[in-house]
Every structure is written in C-alpha cells, then in structure tokens.
Symmetry: C2
Subunit: 251 residues, 2 copies
Amino acid sequence: MSTIGRDRLKRLARLSDGKVRRADGLQLLEGRRLVSEALTAHRVTELFVRDEAAARRYAGMEPEIPVHCIGAQDMDRLAEVRTPQDVIGIGPLPSLLGVDAILAEHRRILLLDGVQDPGNAGSLVRTGAALGLSAVLLHGPTADITSPKVLRASAGTLFRSALGRVESAGALDDALATHPHTLVLPVVHGGRSPREVRVPDAFLLALGNEGAGTSLAGDPSSALRITIPMSAGVESLNVAAACAAILGAWL
Amino acid sequence: MSTIGRDRLKRLARLSDGKVRRADGLQLLEGRRLVSEALTAHRVTELFVRDEAAARRYAGMEPEIPVHCIGAQDMDRLAEVRTPQDVIGIGPLPSLLGVDAILAEHRRILLLDGVQDPGNAGSLVRTGAALGLSAVLLHGPTADITSPKVLRASAGTLFRSALGRVESAGALDDALATHPHTLVLPVVHGGRSPREVRVPDAFLLALGNEGAGTSLAGDPSSALRITIPMSAGVESLNVAAACAAILGAWL
C-alpha cells in the first residue's frame, strides 16, 4: 500500500477527458467488473481503493500492482460515474493494430463504422464479444473506445477483444483482397435475410450509426448485404440490437 | 391554436412523476417520434409546440386535437429531456388487458418480468416490436411503461403493442393451461440453443433483470429453456441484446 500526491490525483481525475488520456497514455477503469477484466488482460498498472480492507485484498491478489488507499472522497473525485466505486484502476491505452494484422489473426470481426454514441459503441463490443466476435476494427468518427462511457457499456469486454483501426475505405478494400473475409453490410432494405444465407467462414460485420447504416459501400460483387426482416412500419432496430439479431441468426 | 393557463402547464410539467401520471391519467409524449407514433395509435389528446409555424402544421395535420403554442421556455419546462423538443403531446395512460385477453389475441408476446431499468424495458419493447412480437405482458416490479424514459427507449413502439399485466405466476400458469403458448425462459446455463429448437407457433418470451434472469419457474414439463451459446468467460449479454439474439435466431 502506498500514498499518492494530491497533484497526481487531480491529474488522474482528468482522465475522463480524452485529450488528457492521449497526453498521459492512460485510461481509467471504474468499478470491479472493468478492473477484473483489465487485470485478466494484464492491462492495469495501479489500483485505487477506498479503505484498508480493500487495499489488503487487492494487494494480496495482485502483489505486483501498486494499490493506493485514497478514501471515499478521493475515490468519488476520481470516478466519472456518481455511484460510489469500490475500486478504480489505471492502465495504459490500448495499442491499435492495423487491419491486415487483425484479419490475419481473426475470423469473426466487429467493424465499428462511425458509431458515435458511446453507449452504442460499448454495447456493440459487448454483444459481439458474447456472440463470437474476437476482434474490433474502428473506422471513421467512432466513439473513443478508451472513454469511461464506452468501457462501462462494454462491461469490460473491450479487454477481451483484439483492437485495430481501418485508416480508409481503400485500406479495407486492399485488406479484403488478400484475406478470405466477407464484408457483411446490414442495410435497411434490399439485403438478404440473415437466416437465409450461408454463414461466412470469416467475416467483418460492419455497423454504423443508428439509422444511417454504414458508410462503407463495399465491393458490390463481394459484400454481403443483410436485411433483418422487421415488422411493418417499425423504423429500425437500435444498432446493438441489430448486431445481436444477426449474430443470433448465425449462432 | 389555443392558450393554456400557467397552473395547468405547471401540472403537466409534473407528469414526469409517476404519481402525478396516475392521479391525472395522463402521460407526456416528448418529441416528434413519440408524438407521431402516438398520433397513429390515436393516443394524443393535446399538443404543445414552440412556435406558430409548428402550431399551424400540426393543426393542419390533426384538426381535432388542440394545439397550444407555448414558446421555447415553457416547452423546455414541460420536457424531461434537456434536448429542445419541437413538439410535446399529452395522452391518456394505456389500459392494461388481462393475460387471457392478450393470449387470446396474440401469438408472439414479450413478457417483461421485473425489468426495473427503464432503458432496458424500453429497448426490449422496441426490439420485440421490430422482430415480430405484437404484445407486451408486464409481471413483477417492472419499470413504469408510462415513464418518459421507457417511452423514449421504446422509440414509440409501445404504441404499436397490445399491453397487459400478469397479476401472479399462478394466473400465468392458468392462462398457459388454456392457451397454446409456450413459455420461453432464457437461462444462463443448461437450456437449448435457440437455433436448435423448433420455433414455437405461439410463445411468451420472458425476460427478467440483467443477469438475474426471470423469476418465473414455469412448468418444467412445458417451459422451453433457452441458452444462448456465448464465448467462454463472457458473463452475460445485456437483456435487450439477449432478446434480439433469440428472436434473430427465430426470424
């Protein structure tokens, strides 16, 4: 157990700001579930707890990680959420792989294509992780996956996924030309029902903003356009529900 | 177009409180999407807008519904959300049918069993409505479906569903004894994969609190226990994602 200076605590409390995260190369892990997932992935460098009992417990579990007992008030200052947290961790920002590296290692991949809402982005990662997708590719103006909101909505599953970035639609086309993956594009109308198609052996499931769909046109000759058959008149599913419905059909 | 007294406006602004809704028999419909769905369902008695142009538009569309132009400030007071709304409606609370009436008329039914989180309750209704469920039954301490949060999360699809209440597990058993519906119970372990079972012709899909599952035991001889095959180590899907995955498998 160790102490920590006020200036350092103040700085850490600012990690809810993306600019500070990028400057310091650190992210906040609020609460037991996120900390537990991040510990499993060896992605925690320090822990903060409210009392000595918790400090002893974590120090016993993870003898190599510094545990700071900072009291309830400072814990509340550190956390973005209002609900009191037992434990808060600090860990390095994830490093994002290139699209080739991801496609070389993973068969079933979630492609977040401009999903700006942090709750939707996190829910998509969680749903994908539960239903067999082992990697996440980011493209376009997608929510910052190191933000506390995305991490919370992902329920820590971000630490189970390989992460990569697609720099451009062209880079994606190039990668798809050399890997066997099918680009799966959910579209509101005119695609095939997910139950009617043969499930591709390897695929990227692209999900964009709610309603707007994805910005990736995809090579018309190879992309698989999927339309979830919906009740008449209902406008759209939430994007995370659409992801779950497609993957449910492909279980 | 008509005017409206200050006292009445103050009272209407309190409709975000469930007690006031029940006392007055009214609910708030915030924003175009909810108002549009409620208008289609003939569930709007008055409309409030911010300017004369909007007042004329709605008065032209719906000549029998009083439209009050109350200005931006009063619109903001009336709304629960902070985002400015173009239109806010008032309508009667829904009447809930009995379980027999629902089972007599609907083949595919969502059973909200103690879903306390308003966002989850609304998302479940939305997902169910999109994927073929035409009625919603409420059981146990489920979120108030007339609250602005549930209505928003449902994206107005609550107005497309028949609504009913199950008074007790016994009442449900009695109803299931006289109707052909299968009680579908998602369970974390030990159930059958949704893709492996024959989709029941008529069913109630019971969804409970996240993680906790449903409180309904169901008659072991007739209930269909469903387990979504999930990636090793991932704890659970969000309850709305679980609903989407099952219905996706049954599309």
